[in-house]
Symmetry: C2
Subunit: 110 residues, 2 copies
Amino acid sequence: MPETAPVILQMDFPFSGPWGEEMAAQLEGLARDIAAEPGLIWKVWTENAEAGRAGGVYAFETEEQAHAYLTKHTNRLAEFGITGIEAKVFRANTALSAITHMPFTASPGA
Amino acid sequence: MPETAPVILQMDFPFSGPWGEEMAAQLEGLARDIAAEPGLIWKVWTENAEAGRAGGVYAFETEEQAHAYLTKHTNRLAEFGITGIEAKVFRANTALSAITHMPFTASPGA
């Protein structure tokens, strides 16, 4: 665990699918690339087919790494024709999060 | 891990502190209550002192439990005089999240 509290980035954007398993099959390569992102502790991939939005929640070791990734991913999404990104950055409260079952350690990945 | 994908709830609201360790000391009791919430897998507590906002990212086993908690927590925050809540609900993509180091298992808690 990093000495300072992890930084939480939440972002989402308009998305027209695919969803679920089909989304996973299509974006597996991107996921493996993101898994190696500097400072990434974890990313939860999020999707809402009814709202037509997808995105993710990320934990990074530092605020600089979170912002660098946000810029990089925003540019990558623009190449896919995706705009209208909504993003928020927070610091995690590790003491309270530990009580509510959130371990800030990365798994080995799949 | 539940058979269906976990539901991710992200919410935040105007907050004037306290922050960090002081926040953790003040809200430890609330955290222990939330840790026992039906269907909660984990909650990450989020804070942004510069933006004057705090909240959390939650994983629940079902959409019904996520929405029930959102209603309950919105009412609880209103009792504290807190309004202006922004909330989003998504389904997690577990296959992609596993690649990016996100284990959907609860820790024993602190």
